[in-house]
């Protein structure tokens, strides 16, 4: 019974923790501009993250080491440092975007300028990273994030024409108002929002934090195979909601307020309240994850003691890295750069950097020295390698598409 509860908690946390500001922005914007024409990208992204997250969890459970820990061993100091620099920069950018997202959610609920919330949010993020036990932190924000289910409920209650929607999702067409370059640019952005690099660092480090072992492999697989796709459904719900309400009106969302309008239209104030709670919870949770991931990647490259499972004084450089990262993230948002803009850059750069994260993971997951008999099967290698090819193609196409579509504006 207890094991069942544990599994249920893990799955629910995975669902609630899936969406972050990147998914919010990308799904809503693509839904409003392209209808369901990019829904297939979400499917691809979810399959990708499921495959690689399972690998990351397995590596951590069997070897007791986190993924980035092993990157340097496998790639060497120089290439590992390059990988660290790129990954850290992008995770930091994402952290800034998430902190901005929390502030925007609070602004939407209170009408108080978001900049005033930013330092407070930064402090709270640091405080939770400093003091709150890992499991408690993970579970709390994951469960709160389930409030976003309200968006799926709103879509359901809107009684859309399911047949027509399925048709437009399976027969994607670039709308006349958009260029092909913009379509593919947003496809890459959406992919980057679903397969964020920090997720792999956080997931594997979290497995080590929680002391997962071989006996937890099943739980890991259930969390990933059931929780992540359901979480992806929430991102899809955001896209559908935007396609149903915003697209017909020609609304191109650039603010969180526009993302909330479809839910309040169908479900009124209760729906709005839950949506706002969901926005807050998923961005706050993602702030914690990205802040810790910044610390994890640096500490794991240099071999410093890391983790919340030891007292802060015993992992001082890790804690310092987390603190400095949060400060830098707060600083970036306080430059008054629009957090939604920061998010857009973060997800596109994430997409471009995906091969950097996933190639080492694929290599490590095939190494019997770390995984013993639990290395990848031939089938999972085949699928994972295919994905890697797709990711490399997407990565190479990112900058040209960004130029051709004027960063999605054209």
């Amino acid at each position: 019974m207890r094991k069942l509860l544990e599994i249920a908690l893990g799955i629910l946390t995975a669902i609630g923790g899936f969406v972050d500001i990147g998914d919010l922005v990308a799904s809503t914007e693509t839904g409003a501009r392209f209808g369901l024409g990019l829904a297939w990208v979400l499917l691809v992204g979810v399959v990708g993250i499921v495959i690689y997250a399972e690998m990351a969890g397995r590596v951590a459970s069997v070897s007791g080491r986190a993924v980035f820990d092993l990157v340097r061993e496998r790639l060497g100091a120089g290439a590992g440092l390059l990988n660290l620099a790129a990954s850290f920069f992008i995770t930091l950018l994402t952290l800034a975007a998430e902190i901005g997202g929390v502030a925007l959610s609070l602004q939407l609920a209170t009408s108080v300028n978001y900049l005033l919330f930013v330092p407070v949010v930064g402090f709270l993020v640091w405080l939770v990273c400093w003091r709150v036990r890992f499991e408690l932190m993970d579970n709390a924000v994951g469960l709160l994030g389930l409030a976003l289910i309200v968006v799926a409920v709103a879509v359901w209650r809107a009684h859309p024409d399911w047949g027509a929607m399925l048709h437009s999702a399976t027969h994607p067409v670039v709308p006349t108002t958009e260029s092909h370059a913009a379509y593919w640019y947003f496809a890459i952005a959406l992919l980057g929002s679903a397969m964020t690099p920090y997720e792999v660092f956080f997931f594997s480090s979290g497995a080590v934090e929680q002391r997962w072992t071989r006996s937890d492999l099943l739980v890991n697989r259930l969390n990933v195979y059931i929780g992540f796709p359901l979480g992806g459904l929430l991102a899809l719900a955001l896209m559908v909601a935007a396609a149903l309400v915003l697209e017909p009106l020609g609304i191109d969302p650039s603010h969180l307020s526009q993302a909330a309008l479809p839910t309040s239209l169908v479900l009124g104030r209760l729906g709005l309240a839950l949506a706002l709670l969901g926005f807050f919870a998923c961005t706050f949770g993602a702030s914690l994850e990205t802040a810790l991931s910044c610390g994890y990647s640096i500490a794991q490259y240099f071999g410093w003691q890391w983790g919340k499972f030891v007292k802060p004084a015993q992992a001082p450089r890790f804690q310092l890295a987390v603190l400095v990262s949060i400060a830098l993230g707060v600083g970036l948002v306080l430059t008054t750069l629009d957090p939604v803009q920061i998010t857009e850059y973060a997800i596109v750069l994430s997409a471009a950097a995906l091969p950097l994260t996933y190639l080492p993971l694929l290599i490590v997951a095939n190494d019997p020295a770390y995984l013993g008999g639990k290395v990848n099967s031939r089938l999972s290698n085949a699928i994972a390698s295919l994905f890697l090819v797709v990711l490399v193609l997407a990565s190479v196409a990112t900058i040209p598409l960004m130029i051709a579509s004027k960063a999605g504006g054209g």
């Binding site: 070897s63 080491r65 820990d69 340097r72 061993e73 060497g76 100091a77 120089g78 590992g80 440092l81 400093w130 003091r131 240099f302 071999g303 410093w304 003691q305 890391w306 030891v310 007292k311 802060p312 004084a313 015993q314 001082p316 450089r317 804690q319 310092l320 020295a369 770390y370």
Partner: protein, 127 residues
């Protein structure tokens, strides 16, 4: 019992773990000593760890910059040296016979900063 190892593959960039199971940095470089008789190859006599050891291996402008900045910042006299005799086991990580605190890897300043914050747990367990 002697084992032949490829030092680059199995020693370099491996995680160092101290006798209490604490993480103590990576093998950033190896100290090779020439036995001097011109016949034998240089032998690995110690493991070097720390930012300046790593910087020395990076062979780039960035590495040299790191070395300059780091040395100035930490004001130390060279990388922490772990003689091979203090190595307990070599596996996927390198286990040591000493405690991490004995290795002067320059984390004192970080611990002093972090230790000042409430809840750091500085008073617990001598380190």
């Amino acid at each position: 019992m002697a084992r032949r190892l490829d030092a680059a593959l199995e020693l370099l960039d491996r995680q160092l773990v101290d006798k209490d199971g604490r993480l103590a940095g990576k093998v950033d470089d190896l100290e090779l000593t020439d036995p001097g008789d011109g016949l034998e190859q240089p032998r690995v006599t110690a493991i070097l760890t720390g930012p300046d050891a790593l910087a020395g291996r990076l062979h780039t402008r960035f590495g040299r910059w790191l070395q300059g900045v780091v040395l100035r910042l930490l004001a130390r006299q060279g990388p922490a040296r772990v003689p091979l005799e203090q190595v307990q086991a070599i596996g996927s990580s390198i286990e040591l016979r000493v405690a991490a605190g004995r290795l002067d890897t320059g984390q004192g300043w970080a611990r002093r900063l972090i230790g000042r914050l409430p809840g750091a747990g500085e008073g617990d367990a001598a380190q």
